[in-house]
């Protein structure tokens, strides 16, 4: 699934945990691991990094790229040159208003990266598999691919519970329109709206190998990104998997795309699957 995994590192307090998480993933996917740091290459930092890698017994197995320049641009440049499949980075759960509009490095990476991106909000020094995974099942062009890749991830990582969440669009308005009819029309419409969404996900699942996974289909009503984030947060999910929405710019932050809603307040670790 992923042959080359890159980890973007800054020497923050969480950097050892991030390396541990990336190492775990490279083992799960049997992938090559590279590290990218953008900034001055100082002896003290080289030593700290080597110590951390040594402790995890991966010092000889990883390639390290020390780069100069704008962090987000450089990270993406290395990823492209090295043919990275998955970029891992740490991210803050919540961002202030200013950061949201101007954009942090993590957000920039998510918006512009060409490979899949995993944002970890709470990396652990002794990482564990992602047990509870939520996959976006909303009716979008990329959804069959997102579900397929999401299930692959879950199988490899041996997730215990997998939820595919789809939602009914403009439920309030549709129900109000149905409300012109009698009680039976309202009930029928409600049932139809739910069953259509369940069927959409089940059709996709039909053609996929689920292995031993326990897959649950959940239907919510409202805006997909918001509902997805709410659901992931309610069940205390470990990972949320979504597809990307193409290149997003400043205007998308002013008049947000759905994905931007998730980015402004990450409910849990987030994997964005790109083509």
């Amino acid at each position: 699934m992923f042959k080359k995994i890159a980890l973007a590192i800054a020497f923050s307090p969480r950097f050892a945990s991030l390396i541990a998480e990336a190492k775990r993933l490279s083992e799960v996917f049997d992938a090559e691991l590279i590290l990218i740091h953008v900034g001055e290459k100082e002896d003290a930092q080289v030593q700290t990094l080597h110590d951390a890698l040594d402790k995890l017994q991966v010092l000889d197995k990883v390639k390290i790229y020390w780069e100069q320049g704008k962090p987000a641009n450089k990270i993406m440049q290395v990823c492209e040159e090295q043919g990275v499949d998955l970029l891992v980075a740490g991210a803050l759960k919540q961002e202030g208003l200013l950061q949201y509009y101007i954009g942090s490095i993590a957000r920039k990476i998510i918006r512009r990266s060409k490979c899949s991106v995993l944002m970890l909000i709470e990396p652990l020094e002794n990482p564990t598999p992602f047990d509870k995974v939520v996959i976006n099942g909303t009716q979008q062009e990329q959804t069959p691919r997102v579900i397929a890749q999401g299930l692959d991830w879950c199988k490899k990582d041996q997730a215990r519970q997998v939820f595919i969440v789809n939602e009914i669009k403009m439920y309030g308005m549709q129900m109000a329109a149905a409300g012109e009819g009698g009680e039976s029309e309202i009930a029928n419409t409600r049932r139809k709206l739910v069953s259509e969404e369940v069927e959409y996900v089940e059709q996709i699942l039909k053609g996929l190998d689920k292995g031993n996974l326990r897959v649950n289909v959940k239907i919510t009503c409202g805006k997909w990104a918001v509902e997805l984030a709410k659901f992931a947060s309610d069940i205390k999910a470990d990972l949320l998997i979504v597809g990307d929405e193409g290149k997003l710019g400043f205007l998308d932050r002013l008049f947000p795309h759905d994905l931007e809603d998730i980015l402004s307040d990450l409910p849990c670790n987030l994997l964005i699957v790109k083509k």
Partner: protein, 417 residues
């Protein structure tokens, strides 16, 4: 402070009861014939008003609706609230997210679906003002209004049709819905500017009015929306549900309405924009929206639509030629405009025609627009009656016409393959 007398109160409640009762009965009958409730509610008004009751039972009509000016004034207050609330839910239905995600094709359908009918609606009344009923007044304003009236699309009717045809979630369905939303926003924006020139409270110049309207729109869609989005989680969490969100959203709706009325750009615009900002908030739950819809659609909407019939004699003010002209302009404008927009967006001719038919539904929005123009002396009663008939005809014909052209498109595709 003046009070309603004992007789005023009795009269007011009798009026309200008669209106709601008859509206319900006729709405149910309309639905039996697969027609929107609003058609029945308008018929109830025509029956209760000068057209039928006033003609055949003038004394009863006089006693019930004309004998008591104080009760009428109170009823007028109810109807005002109804219009503001109807615009509030019209705003609530607009999902900026959806508009944004549909991107360019939605924009081209909605802009062409707005510009072409607007031009058609503007040109004819401008060059033939007498035919369209302009006796005195500003020809430019009158023509601008007609342009707007021709370009608006009624979202709830469109949603209903799309659901009935099982098209709501298709690419075409979402495009039509998003386009109707854009039409709504721009249409009401233009109308607000026109209204502010009807000069009741407004002492502002054209540029000032446009500037303030745009500024208010921008404010509501950015900072206003942000504030609402921050306040709603607190309201949902700390206050009773759904009581808290319902009463506070109504309160803010009235506040916004009062503010825009004070600015001189009509109360409805404030209510509409507050609806847009609130509806787009991620914390305004779909359940809460459904409750607001039901509450307004079943209590205030019937009062408003029945009151239309009470104001006007639909028989004496019916002008066949004028009605036909309005119908032709409205059909031509939407079908050519939105249809061409859809064609440009990659649909074939028959499918584009279906989009045009879908966007042609005018419904309640047209009637609200017409009534406000009538009350402000911008249009005459004959034109208003023609507009109401156009709203009904377009709403009733949209579904069948769309079905027909989609069937033709399907047959064409099957023949080709």
């Amino acid at each position: 402070m003046e009070h309603l007398s004992h007789q005023d109160v009795v009269n007011l409640f009798l009026m309200l009861a008669a209106m709601l009762l008859l509206a319900r009965i006729f709405a149910e009958i309309a639905q039996k014939f697969k027609q929107p409730a609003v058609v029945g509610e308008l018929l109830a008004g025509i029956l209760l008003g000068p057209t039928i009751l006033g003609t055949f039972f003038p004394e009863l009509f006089q006693d019930l609706f004309l004998s008591n000016p104080n009760a009428n004034l109170a009823l007028d207050g109810f109807v005002q609230i109804a219009v503001v609330l109807l615009l509030f839910i019209a705003g609530l239905e607009v999902e900026l997210h959806l508009v944004w995600s549909q991107g360019k094709s939605a924009l081209s359908i909605s802009l062409l679906g707005l510009i072409v009918p607007f031009i058609l609606g503007f040109v004819f009344p401008y060059y033939f003002p007498e035919f369209f009923g302009l006796v005195e007044g500003d020809r430019l304003l009158f023509s601008l209004f007609m342009g707007t009236a021709m370009s608006i699309t009624a979202l709830p009717v469109v949603v209903r049709i799309l659901m009935d045809l099982d098209l709501f979630k298709t690419k075409m369905g979402m495009l039509i819905v998003a386009s109707a939303m854009v039409n709504d926003i721009i249409g009401w924006l233009i109308f607000s500017v026109i209204l502010s020139f009807m000069g009741k409270a407004g002492n502002l110049s054209l540029m000032q009015t446009i500037g303030i309207t745009l500024l208010f729109t921008f404010f509501m869609l950015t900072i206003g929306k942000f504030i609402i989005n921050k306040a709603l989680p607190w309201i949902n969490k700390k206050l009773a549900w759904p009581g808290g969100v319902l009463s506070l959203s109504m309160a803010f709706c009235f506040m916004a309405a009062a503010f825009t009325e004070w600015l001189g750009i009509h109360a409805i615009f404030g209510a509409f924009l507050l609806g847009v900002a609130l509806g787009d908030s991620e914390h305004m739950s779909e359940r809460a929206k459904e409750i607001v819809h039901q509450f307004i659609n079943n209590i205030f909407a019937p009062l408003f639509f029945v009151s239309i019939g009470l104001k006007i004699n639909f028989f004496t003010n019916f002008d066949l030629l004028l009605t036909l002209a309005i119908l032709v302009i409205s059909f031509a404008g939407k079908i050519v405009g939105s249809g061409f927009g859809a064609y440009k967006g990659g649909f074939n001719v028959k499918e584009s025609l279906a989009v045009g038919f879908g966007m042609n539904a005018r419904g309640a929005m047209e009637i609200i627009l017409g009534l406000i123009a009538l009350e402000n002396g911008l249009i005459g009663e004959k034109l208003f009656v023609a507009l109401v008939i156009m709203a009904i005809v377009t709403s009733m014909s949209s579904g069948p016409l769309m079905k027909w052209s989609l069937k033709a498109a399907k047959e064409e595709r099957e023949a080709a393959s």
